[in-house]
């Protein structure tokens, strides 16, 4: 019994020391980590809506008003969806008339070399300048769709496209 108690105390001390060290590291890095997350998000907003010079959060962490010279010229939205092998998060900007200004994928775990190409400009570049009614894969909606899916990664391409279309339609504006 006494031996068991001794083991427990030693393990307790080891864990206590480890917890102390981690607390110290956490305190030293947490501000920097939070700052990076904030900057990364702000940069993403700026990239999808370059014309705006200020972003006002309208729905915490999900939607922003794109403001230029004091007046709203459009909005930026964060969409989350399920891709081929995991969650995908993207932000897109849209002018008041319903034209997209740009798309950026923030988080994805798609297959390297195939689905992971959804972060590339070749795919995402297709969105800028499109009306929201044109945001559909050409193979899904031959009449209106203007987005070409990535070869061998239809599911990933479709997930991004559909999520953006749904959010853009919900936000309304334009046609």
């Amino acid at each position: 019994m006494k031996g068991t108690l001794k083991l427990a105390i030693i393990l307790f001390i080891v864990c206590g020391l480890a917890a102390g060290a981690l607390g110290f590291v956490n305190a030293a890095t947490k501000d920097r980590i939070a700052e990076y997350a904030r900057i990364a998000k702000l940069e993403a907003l700026k990239k999808v809506f370059p014309e705006a010079d200020e972003f006002k959060e309208t729905d915490s962490g999900k939607a922003w008003d794109a403001v230029k010279g004091g007046s709203s010229i459009g909005s930026v939205h964060l969409v989350a969806t399920q891709g081929y092998s995991g969650p995908i998060e993207a932000v897109f900007g849209m002018r008041a008339d319903g034209t997209l200004t740009g798309v950026r994928v923030l988080l994805q775990t798609e297959t390297a070399g195939l689905g992971a190409k959804i972060v590339g400009d070749k795919f995402l570049g297709q969105f800028a300048g499109r009306l929201r009614s044109e945001v559909a894969l050409t193979k899904d909606d031959a009449a209106n769709g203007r987005i070409d899916a990535i070869a061998a990664a239809t599911i990933s391409s479709r997930a991004v496209t559909k999520a953006i279309r749904a959010a853009a339609d919900a936000a309304g504006g334009g046609n």
């Binding site: 060290a21 981690l22 890095t29 980590i33 990076y36």
Partner: protein, 201 residues
């Protein structure tokens, strides 16, 4: 105290490089080696994170080896290892966020990397601090070099780039399978075969 050992500290270091290479010979820690070698940058990043954890935990385990009761040595080792893993994870998030993002879950998973645990149990808990330090350095270099090499090979054939820089022109159709999981197994198999061939000489 280390003097009476027959093996010199230098030999403790060099054995990890080739003769007892953690990936190619001991064949431990393959999970991280296969998953994080999609390109040379990821491989090198993983190698650096691994080096920190391996060396620190080997030294600490060796330092406390005499006061660690045998019955609870495994939980103690795991606590030590996971502490260092969390430290490097936070540090990477704070100072190398993009690398941290591309390595993803595999940095926290160093906790269960069998090489770290294996060296703590098989070496550091039985040997002095200097020898354990040398063993840690050798194992880390052995691991880091192989995973970076795997990353470079996979990136070269699978994407035509090296450390993100284009080396092969547009004429080269990337052989995707090298970047996909099966490519990791192919590359590691060939590396093991080459190593065996050289050792048999």
């Amino acid at each position: 105290m280390e003097m009476k050992k027959k093996v010199s500290p230098w030999q403790e270091l060099t054995k990890g490089l080739f003769r007892e290479n953690p990936i190619l010979i001991i064949m431990l820690g393959l999970c991280g080696a296969l998953a994080c070698s999609t390109d040379a940058t990821n491989g090198a990043g993983m190698g650096i994170a691994f080096t920190f954890v391996m060396i620190c935990s080997n030294v600490v385990v060796s330092l406390i080896r005499k006061i660690t009761p045998n019955q609870i040595r495994i939980p103690v080792f795991i606590t030590v290892i996971s502490t260092f893993v969390t430290i490097i994870d936070y540090a990477m998030k704070a100072y190398a966020p993009s690398l941290s993002q591309s390595l993803g879950v595999f940095v926290p998973l160093i906790v269960v990397n069998c090489i770290v645990m294996g060296r703590a149990e098989a070496f550091a808990s039985k040997n002095g601090v200097l020898a354990s330090l040398m063993d840690g350095i050798g194992m880390s270099i052995g691991f880091g070099v192989v995973i970076t090499l795997m990353g470079a090979i996979r990136e070269f054939f699978g994407a035509g780039t090296l450390f993100g820089a284009q080396v092969l022109g547009a004429w080269y159709p990337p052989v995707l399978i090298f970047v996909l999981p099966p490519g990791a197994f192919l590359v590691i198999g060939f590396l093991m075969a080459i190593q065996q061939r050289i050792m048999k000489r």
